[in-house]
Symmetry: C2
Subunit: 773 residues, 2 copies
Amino acid sequence: MKNYIQPNEWKIVEEGFDPQLNKISESLFSIGNGRMGQRANFEETYSGETLLGNYVAGVYYPDKTRVGWWKNGYPDYFAKVLNAANWVSITISIDGETVDLHDAVVSDFKRTLHMQEGYLERQFTAQLKSGKQIQVVAKRFCSIADDELAAIHYQVKAVNFSGTIAITSAIDGDVKNQDSNYDEKFWDETAKQYTDETLFLTMTTKKTAFDVCTAAFTQVSVNGKDIAPDQESIQKDKFISNAFNVTVQQGEVVDIYKYACNVTSQNYEKDALQDAAKKAIARAQDKKFDGLFQDQVAAWAAKWVESDILIEGDVAAQQAIRFNIFQLNQTYTGADARLNIGPKGFTGEKYGGSTYWDTEAYCIPFYLATAPQEVAKNLLIYRHNHLQKAIENAEKLGFSGGAALYPMVTMNGEECHNEWEITFEEIHRNGAIAFAIFNYIRYTGDAAYLAEYGLEVLIGIARFWKQRVNWSAEKNKYVILGVTGPNEYENNINNNWYTNILAAWCMRYARESAEYVKTTDAARYAEITGLTSFNEQQEFADWTSIADQMFYPYSEKEQVFLQQDGYLDKEQMLVSDLPASDRPLNQKWSWDRILRSGFIKQADVLQGMYFFEDDYDLDTLKRNFKFYESRTVHESSLSPCVHSILAARLSDEEKAYEFYLRTARLDLDDYNNDTDDGLHITSMAGTWMSIVEGFAGMKVRDNVLQFNPFLPSQWNSFTFSMGFRGTQLKVKIDASQISITNFSAQEIEVAVFNQRYTIKEGEQHISYNELLV
Amino acid sequence: MKNYIQPNEWKIVEEGFDPQLNKISESLFSIGNGRMGQRANFEETYSGETLLGNYVAGVYYPDKTRVGWWKNGYPDYFAKVLNAANWVSITISIDGETVDLHDAVVSDFKRTLHMQEGYLERQFTAQLKSGKQIQVVAKRFCSIADDELAAIHYQVKAVNFSGTIAITSAIDGDVKNQDSNYDEKFWDETAKQYTDETLFLTMTTKKTAFDVCTAAFTQVSVNGKDIAPDQESIQKDKFISNAFNVTVQQGEVVDIYKYACNVTSQNYEKDALQDAAKKAIARAQDKKFDGLFQDQVAAWAAKWVESDILIEGDVAAQQAIRFNIFQLNQTYTGADARLNIGPKGFTGEKYGGSTYWDTEAYCIPFYLATAPQEVAKNLLIYRHNHLQKAIENAEKLGFSGGAALYPMVTMNGEECHNEWEITFEEIHRNGAIAFAIFNYIRYTGDAAYLAEYGLEVLIGIARFWKQRVNWSAEKNKYVILGVTGPNEYENNINNNWYTNILAAWCMRYARESAEYVKTTDAARYAEITGLTSFNEQQEFADWTSIADQMFYPYSEKEQVFLQQDGYLDKEQMLVSDLPASDRPLNQKWSWDRILRSGFIKQADVLQGMYFFEDDYDLDTLKRNFKFYESRTVHESSLSPCVHSILAARLSDEEKAYEFYLRTARLDLDDYNNDTDDGLHITSMAGTWMSIVEGFAGMKVRDNVLQFNPFLPSQWNSFTFSMGFRGTQLKVKIDASQISITNFSAQEIEVAVFNQRYTIKEGEQHISYNELLV
């Protein structure tokens, strides 16, 4: 665990330069705008340890699968989030001596992520070997107001010398992915050009043939006087730059402004790309840095109005939750239904493919509450767009008749994971995708979504489950064999309780949804049943029959749902029995030992009880929570939030807070020694859930927004913003009351501890004393 | 299935040249001598489809593991049997036109593997594009009498022209493995030299630094007149050759003799290698081709005396069994305890590492009966030599205190497989290794082996099982969780019946063996208990207690042992329900579907009943055989032989013969479309077992050799050679009697259908009528 980030309510601050921490900081200080993003690599040359990362959303490379032994049905490739052209490069040379913090004496180094305004700032003083000193202040951001654009303002001050500063501003496309399976480079150059002092580099991805044109215009001035660049650009393979030579007197400051853009063939015809880039650069030249910056601050202010959480009395917690919200908002804006939320967002290469079940199970609740309804809807439509691919994916595994198995990992709807125990067996993802539709409608009330998009997806998913079960003559029930649940410390198990309840629920929900559409929109229903060759009578009967006769493992002795068949045959060690030196298990134990043990990566029985909380009474929840919590090592970043929410439900406020802490600062404190790879973006939504669904007990039941709040004793109060069905709310919870501010003219009914209140425009205080009466 | 091999009792014959079949034939016509071997690649240039393969026993490369996601405990590499320097290369050029069967009109092509004499012959007529015709007869062998040596006699006749024949004789070390994980070459050149008209090329393997010196001396003559080679050799990177230019008149024949040797740093100091090669070549020059050939024929004659099986009345079966025996004898001679039997022997690269459990479960019985006792003993000592590595392997997985887990695949004792479900879970191999010790002593009576080597291995194995079980409070028994049995169409199952019985047996046998050594050799026992820090009282008690309380899954309803927990939850489809178009499952079904189905790759319950046949009555065997046979798809080449033996035991002669047929011609008929990769060497021992243990019902019980023979109705008789405790026997089974010839002065007691007979030197006939009385 690291502890070098300075506490601050609105900023992430690193003071002093420690090369050992640089890759961690590159992740932490990442910036993005949903369309592109990058790690906090230095603009100037750096020959120390660094992981270069510039990413363009939706642009990927299908890297040939690397496995020991091929199994039938494996996907051909693992999609890789691509390291794209590096446009931040600004090389500085003082009288021929390159500025490189690896070789310089660095002082006054400070890196700041301004979360409120959405920009990255870095300042330092570097003394070169020659003794010459410069002071640098660099600011940059990816514009969230104009998502093709990014800007840098890089200032160099000649502290103790007069001389020549040579500046080279580059676009370097000769990059590679650290996680390339076969050490290949993924890009080919298509074109480059230097015109109107603007650099253009167009590259195309191998195999997938995405074209990306990156352009950059650089303006250099001293004392307000512009310096003209050299007439000729410097061109190499996949590289283009232009250079400026500036003569400075001691004490003078050179201002470098660099405007860059990325435009892709996803949004433009390939032959129109350079022109689109030119227009983007022109917009930047027009607005200038200050204008772009103003737009950025305004856009972020709007985001914070929708999604901020204010915590009084705990700076570390305050910083952490804002960091999580900031990163989520940087990663996905909901503007484009073709995009999704990679587990590492724009902060690293790991986990390659963009979309996991994380999106449906963890991210959707965050975006439902903190962004316009279209944002979560676009995440659902993403899966609808991939329905045909999901059907093909199921066909590869031997299913038929429109059964859809959504991929475990995907970029374009095709499966691209390559472990059989995940790809073929972790089929619970199909359930989470159906649940997200339910959850979206429960929150938004937009039941028309079923007719519009949802029902087709639900039919495909229900058909999959229907074929995936088999009848066990031995058990006289339907069983689901050979699965991996969310607890990935088990593989190829039978009757995973979570998968079985989810499968049965999916079949019932698909039928209910079909009946709803049939009743409310007969014409569309006819269209869908035609499109899907739906045999209503037979399929309804099958789904109901299977759901009614599904087998659920249960222990009479322990009075708990059993995670899977035979779970109690395992040695029933508890986490409290584990020596600290054995943890984390995934680093200290062999895979074989982990699999055989009863220890749980994330407790899927509890995940199921979280999804379907209304189906279980508190005693049942309590027994299962106690049983599973004591066996769970939380070695998935997605694990603690569910425990936090359930502990809150069980009024175990201490445990709820403890689990919240486990993820809130996961990256800021580099808790798992892996932040250098990138941030745990999707689990950040879980932290938000801990506060809003856990501490505030927010949920929607029967179209009513409910709160069952408590205040962690470590805090004075917490306040979160949320939207609900056309209203924008601010909810403040302190020791004595819950205060709800309704910013909309539209009134809204809420329940607090099951008492109903009508919240009109303005602020209403509900004291807990009042509730106790 | 192919059907192009001509039936012949002693020869494998291919007539006519079909390039489509070339890679299959390269496998089938492979030759070797236990120390080196090669595929039947052409001597002359061939630009068509070919898989070049020259192998030197024990020389391997640790190819970096290729996996999708790393799991703790994975081995770093997968050992690769190395394609080594190609020394057969003899390039022929007629007036500047290269002879290449890919470009020539080929007639009278015939390839013959002379199994009785142990050599490969090939003849053809080739008409080049120029119209010039040559006739070629090529013979070659790897000397089994002098296993560093190999020889070629290559004759070229100028059929219709007079002109110049340019001959280049090469050693080409610039080869690679087709299955290289990262497309690397595995060899570096160390030295090359051309001296005394002899080519020397010394190469070293990357990482493992095995040096191999390959040398070749070539002699060319026309009409008995020697042709001198060019003075200078041709040298390139990893390549050396010398050339001869011969002027011929129409009808003249050029004789090319090439003597080659491989010597390795396993047997010589590195700086003495070239000298050793020089001496080997000198031996060849001294004996000449004819002398070496005479030695070869004599050595093979001796092998056939020990191991031949004669089948009267069925040429295809005769050819097949001799082919299997021939290949086994080519692959392993037992001369060196550092060597073992790779699943593909010297016929291909597949399966990389040399040693699998195939050796103990299938090959040991063959070598026990057909070779001197030392041969099987060396196979056991191989594992004893790896004991420390097996202990380290177990430690990597979290075991301690001298517990030994032998690797699933190995070259040097280190595990080198890379699928977790195999490497970590297919632990039954540990049982087969213990069983082989038992089997060796049962057959040979050499109980002193326990004190000498066996007990240490058994203690390590028993300790592993002791730690690998866990107590199930639920079942009130010891269980073994998370294993893969020999049926690899299941992964990560619990309580695999076969593994559980084997584990319990191992612990009991280790205790019995320890008690035996304690009684018979107290001093050595003290030494072993000291070396292994053996806590006799505690460990004996643990082993017995666990063995006595082991859980064995059983179905009351079906009255069969259950392959694993929950097997009956699967859909109980039978193989007879499977459409032909679905088979083989491993090519037609996704892995996911295979795993979920009840279909069995090889039936491990039956494997266990084969090992421990005396523990089960015939009714029990019959029920289990019927149950599992109907669910087994035999997609392991190791599967049918066990079914054949058990069917014979159940007097189901038709089924016994049917299963025998499934493997006997597996490669000759390319039954599985994979012979091009190499031959199924280890499963060939299973074919031998079908005849000797199945049809003849040979076994050893209470130190007595027993036979319970039957004659397949398709045959007139069968006769096999075997050795038993100092006697050499020939056993002939025909329709009316069993005839046993004892070639030794020592008499031997045998039981035929449980009646005892004393067989003195000479032949004794035992009529079945007599037995029926």
